[in-house]
Symmetry: C2
Subunit: 278 residues, 2 copies
């Protein structure tokens, strides 16, 4: 089961999830200048980042929007990046945040759990209800999903924090996801249905971890978005059930470390993150 | 402005939105058998459906999941379908239901309002908050968005109907979308920010239309999903501010009318729908 593999990585490598939100503008010109088109540059950049971090990162999160924005060629880069991750026997999370009615969700499941865009885990949006999640369940023997629960963006509270009869919207969603998730657990008791929980809401972290003891969290928001290591550690809990995404800080670490060797810099950044979450 | 064009179509053609959720299995074998690969068959089928309905349909809704499920070649069919709609000066709605944090939403906006996947209007998911919608606003001079508010699927009530302090979740979202939408209106007072409102919730229809008098509704759920013409008419209101999607019933109308001429059958189905909503 994919969560078993991911949890092994968390224990043996780190909780760091390397975000491949690779904007061409993040790439040093000395590198991108070598390629005839920007798509080739992005793919090679991704490969170099993967090569320099594969033994210290838990997984790779590929943000599909960045590739969609480059059109059909970008989708090829997206596909090739996923294939590269697979070829190295690493774990890929596709950040696609899809969510649609049953018949359509079946197509999304087929699209992202097989064929050109095959990945290990995807993010999904629960707004349309739990029946929109069910088409992904038949794949959970080998794949996994992370459901958006409490996101890291500044406006995330607009709806997620609305008070409901039993708490707040996000906690009602978490409750539902948790009960669905209990049907799909691995040998460690970890559910194949994880949750996206941003680390930008320090005051909520303890409660969220306490209420969802067996849930694997995909944790965005660290660093540039304001999330702190202290909050990350609370969300990980004593069992370290989560992965912490960082994209730009890793992809552009060469700026911080003032070097041309972007891959070495990325590795250094991952190692720095790793230390902070222990 | 795109809503002006769409509203012209509503008045001069009909409120019918032809859904191009084109599954290869919907296509008669006599037709698909002519093509070497299924992607070519889907594209040609789409073109034939468009050719036979362009003067009686308000717009075309292309459901991206069906194309994503065919991988990179499918994305090319998706792109070519949109290009064909554009070449005929028709209105395309891309049903992509994207929703993500600001920087990522900017990429989605670029992806779907320019380049290979350029379309006229897209559907977006509001769960992450209003800041996730803002990156689409700079495009609203020529493009439009439909925000998921009250969807048509059976489980849509799981979260959308949760009671909040001021009503229900979906009505709080509608309220927020309405106030955002007021900043972007066309010469008819119609907002470029529309709402997705399923017609499977008869008891809510009057209230939703009453509370959102200037909002254009994209209305799914008619027919197979159980939505009735009566509910559609209430949602359209006296100003007929909406388009009613039908996908499978149009794409497979040849079965209902027991004919091999799928395009003539599609036209007949659109005309039947049109009559029902008057």
């Amino acid at each position: 089961m994919i969560t078993e593999k991911l949890y092994e990585n968390i224990k043996s490598k780190s909780v760091v999830c390397v975000g491949l939100d690779t904007d061409i503008n993040y790439i040093p010109e000395e590198f991108s200048g070598k390629f005839e088109n920007k798509c080739d540059a992005v793919l090679e950049y991704n490969k170099r980042i993967i090569d320099s971090t594969y033994d210290i990162a838990a997984c790779y999160k590929v943000q599909i929007a960045y590739y969609e924005s480059m059109g059909i060629k970008g989708m090829k880069v997206y596909s090739d990046t996923l294939k590269y991750i697979k070829s190295k026997n690493l774990v890929a999370i596709s950040d696609i945040k899809r969510g649609d009615i049953g018949a359509t969700a079946e197509k999304y499941a087929k699209a992202h759990f097989s064929g050109d865009f095959e990945t290990d885990m995807i993010t999904v949006n629960p707004y349309m209800g739990t029946d929109t999640l069910k088409p992904y369940y038949p794949y959970l023997e080998s794949k996994g999903i992370f459901v958006l629960v409490r996101t890291s963006n500044p406006g995330s509270g607009d709806f997620q924090l609305l008070k409901t009869e039993n708490g707040k919207l996000y906690s009602e969603i978490a409750e539902k996801i948790k009960s669905e998730g209990m049907k799909y657990t691995d040998k460690n008791g970890i559910s194949q249905i994880g949750m996206v929980i941003g680390c930008t809401h320090k005051e909520e972290a303890e409660k969220i971890r306490y209420e969802n003891p067996g849930s694997l969290f995909l944790i965005p928001g660290y660093g540039a978005q304001g999330g702190e290591a202290e909050t990350v550690k609370i969300l990980l809990g004593k069992n370290r059930l989560g992965v912490v995404n960082s994209s730009r800080a890793i992809l552009t670490a060469y700026k911080k470390f003032k070097t041309d060797e972007f891959d070495t810099a990325a590795r250094k950044e991952v190692n720095e993150m790793k230390e902070k979450f222990i």
